[in-house]
Symmetry: C2
C-alpha cells in the first residue's frame, strides 16, 4: 500500500490513490460536484432518469455518480434544451457527479441504421428515423452543453472478434480522441480517453499506449462485456491496466454483474456503470451478494424475510418477499422501484466492501470468499 | 367556534373537534397508529400500495391516512396472507393510520358478474373469474384480518336515480350494518357505519337517522360522486350532516377533486379519499390549486418553472415542467411517480389550508377565494 497523487489533475479534478492491494485500488476522485470514493458503481440514467428511482432515493441508497447517455439526450430532449434548463445536474435533479458517455456505443449499436467514415458517423434516430451526424467535435459540443463532470471521447466500438475491422476502428478512435481533446474547452469537465481493441492483446496494448500518451485525466476501457469470454475480458484488462497510468482513474464501461465487478476491481478498475441492476429489477429479479432471486417464483408467496437479510437498503428494511411478489403479481409499478433500490444498493454496497478490503489489505481474501459464496 | 369531544370513542379512538366555522370543522382523530388532523385527505393504495409512491415518500409528502381496498386484498394476496405477514401496516410498510373500505363498492361495480341477496353478495373475481361470496360477517372478518385502524360496514351502493332499488338496497345496507356491528370484535379498529340513499333526501335522512342510532364511532357517506349533479351531492351532504352526530368524524367516500373537497369541507365533512390524484398523474395531468395542467402539452416543452410555483413538494422543489414533459414523452415511469407526489401533496396541502382557515374562523372567505381562482 502506498500513496500516489495525480499530476494530470485538470482544474477541479484530482485523483488520489489511497491504497493498493495487489492490483486492486482504493482512491478518491474529486469532481466539481463531489468526491467519488473508488471503486465506485454508477447507476445508469439513460434518458436523464434512473428508471423508477428519484434522485432523493439515489442519494439515500448511497449512489455518488450517475451516468447519462449522450445519444439519448441529444435526440430527446436535445442538449440545447438541457443547457437552457441550467445543465444536466439541474435538469435531472441530481447534484452529485454525473458521467456522460460519448454516444459512440449507441450509434455503433444501430447496425443497419448507421454509416461510419473517417470523420464521424451518420445514423438514423431510433425514435423517428431522422438523419443525424456525430463527429468527435459534435460529441464534445453535446457533452459540453449537457455539462456532466466526466465526459468521454467519441469512440468506435467494433465487433470484438473482427481483427481487421477492429484495426481500422482503432485508427479512427485514436484520431477522434485527438480531435476531442482539441475540441474540449470546459475546465469543469474531465475528458476521459477510451481504450478499444477488441479481444486482441497487441491492439489493446497499442491503444492503451497511444491513448495514455495523450495525457487524459482518466481512462475508459470500452468494448468489453460485449460477447467475449470472461477469460478474454480478464486478459484485456490485464494488458490495458498494466499500461494505463497508475495515477488516473480507470473506468470499465457497461460492467456489470457482481462477479464482473469483483473481478475487475482485482485487476485495477476504479469506475463502473451498468443497466443490469435496474433492468433486472424491472424483470422481477433481485440481486444479492450470493446470487439472484426471481421474485415471481411461487416459493416466495409466503416468505416473511426481506430479499437479503444482511441488507440495509430501504426495500429490505421495510418489505417482505411476500409483499414484493404480491406487487409483481398485481403488476404494481412500485415493484420496479423497490427492486431497483435494492439492486443498486447491492452493487454500491459491494464496491464499498471491496474498497474497505483494499484499504485493509485483504482484497484477495475478500474476492475469494465472494466467489465461493456467489452462484 | 367551540369544543366538542366524542363520547362514543371506542378504546384507542377519540375524536376531538377543535373548531367550527359555519358547518366546516377542524378536528383531531386519535387512532392506534397516530393522530389524524381533520379535514384529511387519504391517498388510495388499492392493492396495498399507492401506485408508484413508496411509504417513505408518502410520509414525506405529508400523508397521514392511507386507504386500501378490501375487495382487492381479499382476492390477492388474500387477507390471511396479509395477516400472516403481521397485518396490513407491516405488509405495506405504512406505519400510520390505514382505512379499509368494506368491499361493497367494488362488488357492486362488477355489474353482470355479481348477484345480491338479503344476506350478502356473490360475485366473480375480476382477476380469474372464480366465484366468491361476501356477507357482512365475512367483510368484517376480512377487515379484521387485514387490521386497518378504520374499517367499514358492508353496504350496497345502488344506482343513484333508481328510487325503488335504492329503497331495497338501503334496507339491506341497514340490516348489514347491524350484522357488521355484532361481528366486529377488535377494539383497536374503529368500525364506521355508512349512509346510503342515492339522491333522495328522505331516504338519506332515514338512513342517517337509522345508522346514527346504532352508535358508530364514525360515519361514512357513500354513493356520492357516482354520477349525480353537484347540486344533488350538496343537498345530500346537507341532509346527512345535519343528522350525523357532531362529535364523530364524517368520511365522504371516493371524493375527490379540489373543488369537491372545499365544498364538502364547507358542509361538514372530515375525511376524504380518492384515486384521482394518482390516476391523473399516470395520465400526465398535474393538479394545482388553480386548475389542472396537461404536461404533455407542447407549451411546456421549454418551461423552466415547476408545476406550481407556490408548491413545496419534492417534485416542484426539484424539477421543471420541461423535465417532467421530457419524462412523459420518453415514457419514463418516474413521470407517474413525480406527478403522483405532487398531486397528492396538493390535495393534502389543500385540506391543511382549509383546516387552518376553519381554526382561524375565515373558512367561507377561503372557500370563496378558492372557487374564484379555480378553473
Amino acid at each position: 500500500m502506498f500513496l500516489l497523487e495525480s499530476h494530470l489533475s485538470a482544474g477541479p479534478f484530482h485523483f488520489k490513490l489511497a491504497a493498493h492491494d495487489g492490483r486492486a485500488r482504493a482512491g478518491i476522485f474529486h469532481t466539481p460536484h463531489g468526491d467519488l470514493l473508488t471503486p465506485v458503481f454508477a447507476p445508469v440514467g439513460t434518458q436523464g432518469t434512473v428508471k423508477g428511482v428519484t434522485p432523493a432515493q439515489l442519494s439515500e441508497l448511497g449512489a455518488s455518480l450517475v451516468l447519462a447517455n449522450t445519444y439519448h439526450l441529444y435526440l430527446r430532449p436535445g442538449e440545447k434544451r438541457v443547457s437552457d434548463m441550467g445543465g444536466l445536474h439541474r435538469f435531472m435533479g441530481w447534484q452529485g457527479p454525473i458521467l456522460t458517455d460519448s454516444g459512440g456505443f449507441q450509434v455503433f449499436s444501430l447496425a443497419d441504421m448507421r454509416k461510419v467514415d473517417e470523420e464521424g458517423a451518420t445514423f438514423k434516430s431510433h425514435i423517428d428515423g431522422s438523419l443525424h451526424r456525430i463527429t468527435p467535435t459534435k460529441a464534445i459540443q453535446i457533452q459540453e452543453d449537457l455539462g456532466a463532470d466526466i465526459i468521454m471521447t467519441f469512440d468506435e466500438c467494433a465487433p470484438p472478434y473482427d481483427r481487421s475491422y477492429t484495426e481500422s476502428a482503432l485508427r479512427r478512435t485514436q484520431a477522434w480522441a485527438e480531435s476531442c481533446l482539441s475540441a474540449h474547452t470546459r475546465t469543469d469537465q474531465a475528458l476521459f480517453g477510451i481504450v478499444q481493441g477488441g479481444v486482441f492483446p497487441d491492439l489493446r496494448e497499442r491503444a492503451a499506449k497511444w491513448i495514455s500518451a495523450l495525457g487524459f485525466p482518466g481512462y475508459a476501457i470500452g468494448g468489453l462485456s460485449v460477447g467475449e469470454t470472461k477469460h478474454e475480458m480478464n486478459s484485456m484488462l490485464e494488458v490495458v491496466n498494466s499500461i494505463l497510468p497508475e495515477d488516473c482513474p480507470r473506468y470499465l464501461m457497461g460492467v456489470g454483474s457482481p462477479e464482473d465487478l469483483v473481478n475487475a476491481i482485482g485487476l485495477g478498475v476504479d469506475i463502473f456503470d451498468c443497466v443490469l441492476p435496474t433492468r433486472l429489477a424491472r424483470h422481477q429479479e433481485a440481486m444479492t451478494l450470493t446470487g439472484r432471486l426471481k421474485l415471481m417464483n411461487a416459493i416466495f408467496a409466503n416468505d416473511p424475510r426481506p430479499i437479503d437479510e444482511s441488507c440495509t437498503c430501504y426495500t429490505c428494511q421495510t418489505f417482505t418477499r411476500t409483499y414484493l411478489r404480491h406487487l409483481i403479481i398485481a403488476r404494481e409499478m412500485l415493484a420496479g422501484t423497490l427492486l431497483s433500490i435494492h439492486n443498486l444498493f447491492t452493487l454500491i454496497r459491494l464496491t464499498g466492501m471491496a474498497r474497505q478490503a483494499v484499504i485493509e489489505g485483504r482484497f484477495s481474501d475478500f474476492a475469494l470468499r465472494f466467489k465461493e459464496s456467489y452462484t
